[in-house]
């Protein structure tokens, strides 16, 4: 009996190991690649054991001269796109929280004529192909003069972040028993007070998860930054800058990939619980 039990578990453990390997290996491989020299990257069979070097990271941050001298002084300065990503994604989330939480609250609590229509309208924003928006946006941005500005980018990122925040807030608020608020209203509190003092603290764990999720979605975005920004382009767009033989591009691109992935990975480990809650609560309802 005991022997049987162990065999089944052993087999399950093996399967899990296999699944974990498939998930982790590509990321691990790219990380290895970022530590290799250009010659090592192209070797066949691929090398797993080698002397690591931080040279490629130095090139990425312009701390050492890029690659061969014939391609000269290609400055990369990856710090700028990273900063752009942080400012744009973070800014977008903050703005979405400010205008989205009240909206979500209203959708959850109020009853007015077009409520469900507006709700569906907000949800429907997820349906639209982003590129359909970009083309006219490009015209408008040019006319308004906000192309390649943080303001313009944060505004356009609302397409990604705002609907999610509104919808998730609505779902969470619907979970909260309405008695608390009714009591507060009876005692004469106004709606801002109710939101700030009562709802927000209760929402906090769910909102942290939702914010993380939405920040990630913003961080991932590529198409908007590609066409609507130049100097303010986020890190995903800057990755393309690394496709250049002048900088030994395979390993340096691997560095760029690692960095573009490390911010989300860190966030996940820090906010794991919240993130999963945010993801599943919203979807499950």
């Amino acid at each position: 009996m005991k022997f049987n039990f162990n065999l089944k578990n052993f087999f399950l453990n093996l399967l899990i190991l296999f699944a974990a390997f498939i998930i982790i290996f590509p990321i691990f491989w790219i990380f290895l690649m970022s530590l290799k020299s250009s010659a090592q990257v192209m070797e066949w069979p691929p090398v797993f054991i080698f002397e690591p070097t931080l040279d490629n990271y130095k090139v990425l941050f312009d701390m050492s001269k890029a690659g061969s001298s014939n391609y000269g002084t290609i400055k990369i300065n990856f710090l700028e796109p990273i900063l752009n990503s942080v400012i744009i994604s973070g800014g977008a989330v903050v703005v979405s929280l400010i205008i989205g939480i009240p909206a979500g609250y209203i959708l959850a609590r109020s009853n007015f004529k077009f409520k469900e229509d507006i709700g569906f309208f907000i949800l429907g924003f997820r349906f639209a192909p982003l590129i359909l928006v970009i083309i006219p946006m490009f015209y408008f941005f040019t006319i308004l003069g906000i192309k390649d500005t943080y303001f313009g980018m944060i505004w356009v990122y609302q397409v990604i972040t705002l609907p999610m925040i509104i919808w998730l807030t609505r779902v969470y608020v619907e979970d909260i028993p309405i008695e608390l608020e009714e009591a507060a209203f009876v005692e004469g509190a106004n709606v801002f007070h109710v939101i700030l003092k009562i709802i927000l603290p209760l929402l906090r764990p769910g909102l942290v998860g939702a914010s993380l999720l939405v920040f990630l979605l913003a961080w991932h975005n590529f198409a908007l930054g590609l066409l609507l920004a130049s100097k303010k382009a986020p890190v995903t767009v800057a990755l393309l800058k690394l496709l250049n033989p002048g900088i030994n591009f395979y390993p340096v691109m691997a560095c760029g990939l690692v960095i573009s992935m490390i911010v989300p990975i860190l966030l996940i480990f820090l906010g794991q619980k919240h993130f999963v809650k945010g993801l599943t609560f919203g979807a499950v309802k």
């Binding site: 069979p45 192909p129 966030l267």
Partner: protein, 291 residues
């Protein structure tokens, strides 16, 4: 009295969000309008062109090929992800040690930017020097062409998509599994049902709503998928992976046919709408069945 005035005032809280989203709606309509013009970047005149762009698409074999590719990609990816998602959810919900240890890593592929994922796999999928073919060679398997050949490119991209987004299904289904009525499960097992029957008749129906709601999200995103395609093949080789988003991108930004590009995207939008609505209906049916 006091309450009703408060009520009507507070409804205006929704206004800023609605305004912001309204302007995107306006942009959307403007984009749709553009699809009825002959807008070509660079040409000095823009004229209303009625359905000309749509007729062009209707008559164009590449448009139909793109349609097939987009639907094929979405359906195959989502079905495989759903299937594997259920498997992984069951696997990681078992009580074995490694399940607990490795549970957090399920999130990993999800949090990576799709563009980074695309570039990462492109490197690994190099037919002559990529590490994937190295692993195949260890099992004496011939080098696979991955994204470099017409016949294998779409499958390779589906592979990448499955790797990235199966965890999404896993997470959602996993949350659902936790809620499966333990008593029902035990009762069935006591009544002599095998593990398989328990799974098929009790657990799976419970999981279906979760699978379907995750499917709605994935279907929407797969119909609109751009990053993974542009980061790997850019629509090639030989149009093997020219899905709607890529087709529209090439038409608009390389060939300067903005009118046609927006027309393609408008059709894309309808596809998304229909796909999402169908899946939502299935979801509601599954919900009913469970309760």
């Amino acid at each position: 009295m006091y309450q009703s005035r408060e009520k009507s005032l507070k409804n205006y809280l929704i206004l800023p969000s609605v305004l912001v989203l309204l302007c995107f709606l306006f942009v959307f309509f403007y984009g749709v309008y553009l699809s009825f013009t002959d807008l070509k970047l660079g040409k000095p005149t823009v004229n209303f062109a009625g359905f000309k762009n749509y007729i062009y698409l209707w008559k164009n074999p590449l448009f139909w090929k793109s349609t097939k590719l987009t639907i094929y990609f979405t359906l195959v990816s989502v079905v495989i992800q759903a299937f594997l998602g259920v498997l992984l959810a069951k696997l990681f919900s078992t009580k074995v040690i490694l399940a607990k240890v490795f549970r957090p890593i399920i999130l990993l592929p999800l949090v990576l930017p799709p563009m980074s994922v695309a570039l990462m796999w492109t490197t690994m999928m190099n037919p002559e020097r990529g590490v994937l073919n190295y692993f195949l060679s260890l099992f004496s398997i011939e080098p696979f062409m991955w994204i470099s050949q017409y016949s294998t490119a779409m499958l390779s991209i589906i592979f990448i998509d499955v790797w990235t987004y199966t965890p999404f299904f896993t997470l959602i289904i996993y949350a659902g599994i936790l809620g499966v009525n333990q008593e029902m499960k035990e009762a069935a097992q006591e009544a002599g049902a095998s593990a398989w029957t328990t799974f098929w008749k009790i657990e799976l129906p419970f999981m279906m709503p979760y699978v379907l709601i995750a499917a709605v999200f994935r279907i929407i995103e797969s119909f609109n998928q751009f990053d993974i395609f542009i980061g790997t093949t850019g629509g090639g080789p030989a149009k093997a992976t020219t899905v709607y988003s890529i087709y529209a991108y090439i038409q608009s930004f390389q060939n300067l046919n903005f009118g046609r590009g927006t027309a393609i995207l408008f059709v894309n939008w309808w596809l998304v709408l229909i796909g999402a609505l169908i899946t939502m209906k299935l979801y509601q049916m599954a919900r009913k069945r469970v309760s």
